[in-house]
Amino acid sequence: MTTKTEERVVDPLDAQEARSARLTGLEIIKRGLALSPAIKDGIGVTLLLAMLSTVGGTVVPIVIQVAIDAGLGEGGHTDRGEVHLWVGIALALIAVTAVCAYAMRVRLFVASERGLTQMRVQAFRHVHDLSMLTQNAERRGVLVSRVTSDIDQVSLFLQFTGIMIVVSVGQMIVATIVMAYYSWQLTIVVLVCFLPLAVSMKWFAERLSQAYDTVRRTVGEMLAVIAEPVVGASVVRSHAIEARTQRRVDHGIDANLQANVSAQRLVAVTFASAGVAGGLANAGVVIAGVALGVAGGLSMGTVIAFAFLVGLFVGPVQIATQVLTEAQNAIASWRRVIDLLDTPADVVDPGSSAPPLPDGVLGARFDHVTFAYPGGPDVLRDVDVEIAPRQRVAVVGETGSGKTTFAKLLTRLMDPVTGTVSLGGSDISTVSFDELRRHVLMVPQEGFLFDATLRENLLYGKADADDAALLAVVDGLGLSDWFATLPRGLDTRVGQRGESLSAGERQLVALLRSALADPDFLVLDEATSAVDPQTELRATRALERLLEGRTSVTIAHRLSTAENSDRVLVFDAGRLVEDGTHAELVDAGGVYARLHASWVAQSRLDH
């Protein structure tokens, strides 16, 4: 559907994002886990395993201390029994650690993938339940990224960054405990050496996150200009603006290069400074350790064990800034998916318990219906009209007159702000979706096709139809001769968005699909773009057969359609201003008569 220069209305997703902007990172994680409970399956055991898997790294420095103090340090008379015992213990602990780490990782991968797939599918379904998709084509790209890259970000976070944080923090805690057990004085020396880095970490993380924001922005801008020589290839050649285009592309590429280099500079500096802190800590340990040892408070093994323990700090600190940035991105992604899921569906299915519609061909009634998008002006104002069963109605009006809104309310793609829309005497907001769709069908302007075979595309109309039923419908709409021209019949692949077929043929498929669905009330949005006349003729005839015996409301872009209808409704600025047959309205001399006059002026040129 073409988009109009709509008023700046409040998008429900934007509104939800504004509400959730106050939530902190932890609250987002909590809400995210609540929405995909499978992530938490056995999370206690997984975390326990994660804690156990930090032990392996810390046992090595202990063995070093034991070995040195058991005699290795004195260069002679070693107490081998004790060393062998500790090596044995360490061996066992390293093995246990490896097994725990394996089990922990597998559990984490399985649980997070299951939970996030759940969330992905939920979010996908929710997008279909939100009416904005049918209102706002620009949002589609954004919505796709919520069920794809945003979820991927969260998955990376849970499986890599998140676990890295847990293991690193665990390792640092265990290392600190072991250090404190050996010597609280040396522990303080080590911690003091890392203190400046720890304090500046927040600053680094903020700078890094800004730097990566710039990188992302420049990537977006670069992708847009790189598309120009490709998507706009013919425009660029026709207007001979190659040099200008190349300048724009180069500029986009250079801006991205600069942003990446700036970010890389920060990464390199933070990474390097952790190493310097490590060196400082080692020097500090040797000075303080020797001083304390000489005073008799410390063994030689302990001092050397400390050097090994310091190593356990350097790695986590080196990756900490990067991890913090990634965590921020992941939480932002998680927030976006949660916002989508938390946006309430504006049109709610009353469910199958609702009373069914009466059988037979139905009519419709608008009872003082007014519609406005949230925060926007009235798009449709106090429309009061009744459509009798089997009546053929054309809706006419300029762009923005409200005729499309009228059609959307009729098919319950949206609900009115005031007033009711009823079908066969029942308020359609009390009719279950299944029941409603059995009776009413909207055929959009462009016959949207899926990248599959013709058969699969037709089955969207009626999932359980067999080939005989499909061919019967082809015959029923008088399209057998066209069908015979298809190289592979029902197995013909239509290509992405149906691109292997012509625009006119896509419309034919859409009509066939609608005929299979067999509704008794059709709402049609007439195609505006011209297609090849022969196909157009075919489509018009097929449509004629499709409409036979059904109630129909057509958003007419051609006056010939209005002329052939039982009744014409003319909309202007959100109001139903004229209502009558073609002949009556031409005589009335109003809006319709004016539109008709310009049309007649055009067709007179034939003679």
């Binding site: 073409t2 220069t5 392996g56 046992v59 090595v60 008379h77 090596v87 097994v99 990782r105 797939t117 996908f124 279909h128 998709l133 049918t134 620009e138 589609r140 919505l143 991927d152 499986q159 670069m222 992708l223 847009a224 200009v225 790189i226 120009e228 490709v230 050649r237 026709s238 207007h239 001979a240 603006i241 190349q246 280099v261 390199a268 390097a272 490590g278 060196g279 080692n282 040797v286 020797v290 030689m300 190593g311 790695g315 762009t399 793609l413 769709r437 899926f450 969207y460 012509s502 297609v531 022969q534 157009e536 005839r541 004629e544 052939n564 310009s598 055009q602 067709s603 040129l605 003679h607």
Partner: protein
């Protein structure tokens, strides 16, 4: 190097050695192109590797010369202590400088290679003729300039570190040999094992990662398609089936991700445990060596410490080898663009006429593929100041005809003449200055309204507004939040199809062309507005201050404004004359333009 355009991961695994060979050649190319910076990053990385080993050596030295003597004597060995502190700090600072050189300069090498090849690829896009563009899907070309360029050079991110690691391993073995020959044996067992496991790990993992990546693409494609078709899905009540379809793809991706996860779960803990086991082995052997007096305690400490610091960097070699096949695939795709040949040669003549131009086609033939002629001997004469409509069924060759006029394609034989000059003899600039084509679909640049109309030409705002007024676009443009400065395109304001077409028309008019070619360029504009635009245009042309106009049309109203109609049928001019004449004498023409009316009559009969 092969130039196969579709090197997939499947045929890659068939010839792994060949891929590695080509991968190493690719490394050579990148290294030589960024020779200077790459050398600095490698030097930095070698310094980093050497200092990592030196760090362990300093600890060993401090053990033997500071810690042990102090403990034995019961007093601090002050001189040696000062030296060891100095050594620790010097090593740490040198290592930090090495890290910065490696990470920063190495990063710059990668980013420069990527930026450089993006420039080269986009330059090819601008130079290659439209016939080449027609043969390549848009999505593929965009990915060649973006993802494929990145993939081709991605291996340069871990490369300096991997080279530094090789230096580090050599230094480590030397340091061990100097410390104790027997302890070196542990290193000679453990280092190759670490290396081998990493290589095996990456080889096992990377096809599984590629598989997951392609499934990720499927998930995205299904979401795109499904959201695009939302209206159809909703009105047919197919949400549940669509969700099931999406869930099938999402679950396939989930299983592939879990399969990747299982491999990672085995190797990551194994690679962490291995150096720890090595340390235990060093201690077990070390106590005997020290007891027998063959080694000093400091030697044991140093070798043990080496394993803890070397273990992680060794992974970089695995990363390089794991990345290499992906880089080769990316490079092959980039190469297909860089190696593509064909330029559109332009002439050197300039047109100097003023007022509406004359257009003549002489026996023009054109085919996209050999043997299927789209235009078969078209002769056409458009006198200056005339409006000529081209009418024909789909596939009759109308759009091709318009493409010839600005040389988006050239005829196979015959000539296209503007003011009696063959368009192939004109400079590109002169042709674009005199002839403007407005295509069926409008491309908007990610730029302001003003820039989208002027396309960089030096036109004052008055001129821009005049062009917008001529195409009835001044109303909606002035209603935009920032008028001419409003950003359009993907990240800016979105316009309707009719509004876009009107901007494209303004874009053509603002350049004051002498021949205006419209290829169904008003199809999305409201008929009433279209009438006003065309009437104003025809009036200007009739007054000799507008261009000659060639218009491809379906609507009768459009056709009616033309002085003459050319009826194109199956690549030939079947007839020409006024609309009334053609209606009178050509049954095919009548059938074509009356199709709507006929449909209406058929409806009345039904």
């Amino acid at each position: 190097m092969s130039d196969s355009p579709s090197a997939t991961t499947d045929n890659l695994s068939a010839s792994t050695d060949q891929v590695m060979g080509r991968g190493f050649r690719l490394l050579g190319r990148g290294m030589s192109e960024q020779r200077f910076l790459f050398t600095i990053s490698v030097v930095g990385s070698v310094v980093y590797g050497a200092m990592t080993v030196a760090d362990a050596w300093v600890l060993g030295w401090a053990t033997d010369h500071v810690i042990r003597p102090s403990f034995e004597k019961g007093e601090m060995v002050k001189g040696a202590l000062a030296v060891s502190v100095l050594l620790f700090m010097t090593v740490a600072i040198l290592r930090a400088l090495g890290v910065i050189a490696r990470r920063l300069i190495g990063g710059i090498v990668y980013y420069r290679l990527v930026a450089d090849y993006r420039r080269r690829v986009t330059r090819r896009y601008l130079a290659l003729p439209m016939s080449w563009h027609h043969k390549h899907p848009t999505g593929q070309l965009l990915s060649n300039a973006n993802a494929d360029v990145e993939a081709a050079w991605a291996v340069f991110m871990p490369l300096p570190m991997a080279i530094g690691v090789i230096a580090m391993l050599v230094a480590a073995v030397v340091a061990m040999l100097l410390a104790d020959v027997v302890l070196t044996v542990v290193g000679l067992v453990v280092f190759p094992a670490l290396f081998g496991i990493n290589v095996f790990y990456q080889r096992w993992l990377s096809p599984k990662v590629s598989h997951a990546q392609s499934l990720r693409g499927d998930v995205s494609a299904v979401a795109h398609e499904s959201f695009d078709g939302a209206l159809v899905i909703k009105s047919l009540g197919r949400e549940a089936d669509e969700t099931a379809r999406f869930a099938r793809h999402a679950e396939a991706l989930r299983d592939a991700n879990i399969a990747v996860g299982r491999i990672r779960s085995i190797f990551d803990p194994l690679l962490e445990a291995l150096p720890n086991l090595a340390v235990l082995a060093v201690i077990l052997i070390g106590i005997d060596r020290v007891a027998s007096g063959a080694a000093a305690p400091g030697d044991v400490v140093q070798v043990a410490y080496l394993f803890t610091v070397v273990a992680f960097p060794v992974r970089a070699i695995g990363w390089v080898l794991g990345e290499l096949p992906r880089s080769v695939v990316g490079w092959d795709r980039v190469r297909t663009v860089l190696d593509a040949t064909g330029e559109m040669p332009y002439g050197s003549r300039e047109l100097d006429g003023a007022g509406p131009a004359r257009l003549r086609l002489e026996d023009v033939r054109f085919e996209y593929e050999a043997g299927t002629e789209v235009l078969s001997g078209v002769d056409l004469d458009l006198e200056p100041g005339r409006v000529v409509a081209v009418v024909g069924a789909t596939g009759a060759g109308k759009s091709t005809l318009t493409s010839l006029l600005t040389r988006l394609v050239d005829p196979v034989s015959g000539r296209v003449l503007v003011d009696e000059v063959d368009v192939r003899d004109l400079t590109h600039g002169s042709l674009a200055e005199h002839v403007a084509v407005v295509p069926q679909s409008t491309f908007l640049f990610d730029d302001s309204v003003r820039e989208n109309v002027t396309l960089g030409a030096d036109v004052p705002d008055d001129g821009v507004w005049a062009a917008l007024r001529a195409v009835q676009a001044d109303g909606f443009v002035s209603a935009l939040p920032r008028g001419l400065d409003t950003q359009l395109g993907e990240r800016g304001t979105t316009l309707s199809g009719g509004q876009r077409q009107r901007l494209a028309l303004a874009r053509a008019l603002v350049r004051r062309p002498r021949l205006l070619v419209m290829d169904d360029a008003t199809s999305a504009v409201d008929p009433e507005v279209e009438q006003r635009i065309l009437a104003a245009l025809a009036e200007h042309t009739a007054d000799e201050d507008g261009p000659s106009v060639l218009v491809v049309a379906y609507r009768k109203a459009t056709i009616a404004l033309a002085d003459e109609v050319v009826f194109l049928d199956d690549g030939r001019i079947a007839d020409r004359g006024t609309h009334a004449e053609l209606i009178g004498r050509s049954a095919d023409y009548r059938l074509l333009v009356d199709a709507y009316d006929q449909a209406r009559e058929a409806g009345d009969l039904a």
